[in-house]
Assembly symmetry: C2
Amino acid sequence: MRSVSGPDVQAGRLTPLRRRPRVGHIEFLNWLPILWGLARSGSLVELDLVRGSPERLSAELAGGALDVGPISLVEFLTHADDLVMLPDLAIGCDGPVMSCLIVSRVPLDRLDGVPVALSSTSRTSVRLAQLLLAEHIGVRPRFFSSAPDLDVMFAQAPAAVLIGDVALRTALYYAPTRGLVVHDLGRMWRDWTGLPFVFAVVAARREFLEREPETVRQVHSALLNARDRAIAEMDELCERTARWEQFDAGTLRRYYTDALNFGLGPRQQQGIAEFAARTGFGVNVGATLLDSA
Amino acid sequence: MRSVSGPDVQAGRLTPLRRRPRVGHIEFLNWLPILWGLARSGSLVELDLVRGSPERLSAELAGGALDVGPISLVEFLTHADDLVMLPDLAIGCDGPVMSCLIVSRVPLDRLDGVPVALSSTSRTSVRLAQLLLAEHIGVRPRFFSSAPDLDVMFAQAPAAVLIGDVALRTALYYAPTRGLVVHDLGRMWRDWTGLPFVFAVVAARREFLEREPETVRQVHSALLNARDRAIAEMDELCERTARWEQFDAGTLRRYYTDALNFGLGPRQQQGIAEFAARTGFGVNVGATLLDSA
């Protein structure tokens, strides 16, 4: 028997000596490969995985309810003083992303002053859509938030910004039968800047990193291994996921391997810096990155 | 592309066509082997796993917020009309269980009319403790609920009923330094009846089984495979879990392999029937069991 008797046991409270790191888990298809890899490698039992929407997880990491996890790029840039970006892992794209779209029944250059529905409160996709429409297309629509009911949205506006699984389903099943044209924000960003776009990075709270540097490195390593394992086992992941989603295994494979990019190298960092500069964030992106040594 | 366009897509709501079964996951060490196996086999991505305490998960399954999952024996017996027990899997013991205890500073036969603290609202362990003290030992203490602070409990009472991880920690770290004697309820039950005790069974809601029999069989199969995989990979499970718990790998292995019993065969069913009869539940246990053919 290992002799463990920390202060909590002494005081009769009997809480575990160490608590597992609290790590965010996005309940979207885009994060499922990471869950797959964490599961298959057994790392899951060493994490306190907290499920949630991207918005909720971003807020919880920024607010300190999580220690490590994915965070929307704009939220990261907003809270960069309290966070450290983990290298080599992100959710991004280098061209069409399939799940971050403007869906419109009129050409985009006719959207000036026109209402455009937002299906999500994700600040990153909203800022990206605003930026592309304003500076790439040259129009300034009037954005308004809407419940994710497409019939309601398109009754109120000729176009909508859609992200996540809803965007995937809209492009595949809804838009084609309604005469709606799908504009991929990942493709538009690459056409405009020549760079990848990063929707979410993975970050640790700075105070947590200072307190438990080894834990952060272990979580980081577990996440990287998870990503690699998911890529290696992509066929099985897609086949099993397809049983429960409105996408077949081939579509999922295309989404995970052609559309999404889970890397965070120099080009992705350049993409982040470009977005930060164009949206007025005075953040030195390189300086927020954890030394990967 | 598979052609899927259910009514939800038609109506523009775009929810997934099928939802994954909602399966309870107990946040206690006793259920961790099942999580390990579900993770390692990849089944995790096909389940909507809901974390919670045994009490909460029991209530959610009884109330319909979960489709399948572990449920405390007394809760199962109480709601047997709405539930179907899945064969071959349970959380029980056939002798000492290590995590369901009466810890006392006086001999048990001196507890008549004496206050005894309860660390948990688990009706199964409370009923088991009452039953054993009343009919096996011959005393009727005055039970009262208490926050799980041992110093407070033992300031108010000479004995306490403890279950779960708190019980494990108490037996190992607290009781030996306080002159408290640990009585294992699993051992007491076996001494008294010669039978195994089952603390929780795994059940499906009857309405869910009728609607989705194939899903229930798949979940059942995934859970059985998970249990078997955990047993096959017990060393790695225990080593990785020990990094985050107050127990070393050897203690965890002893708990999972010697103390806990994850089977539900004829002897376990006899144990359930014995407990049901002695506590006044008029439930035909065999009739509530899903045909395992």
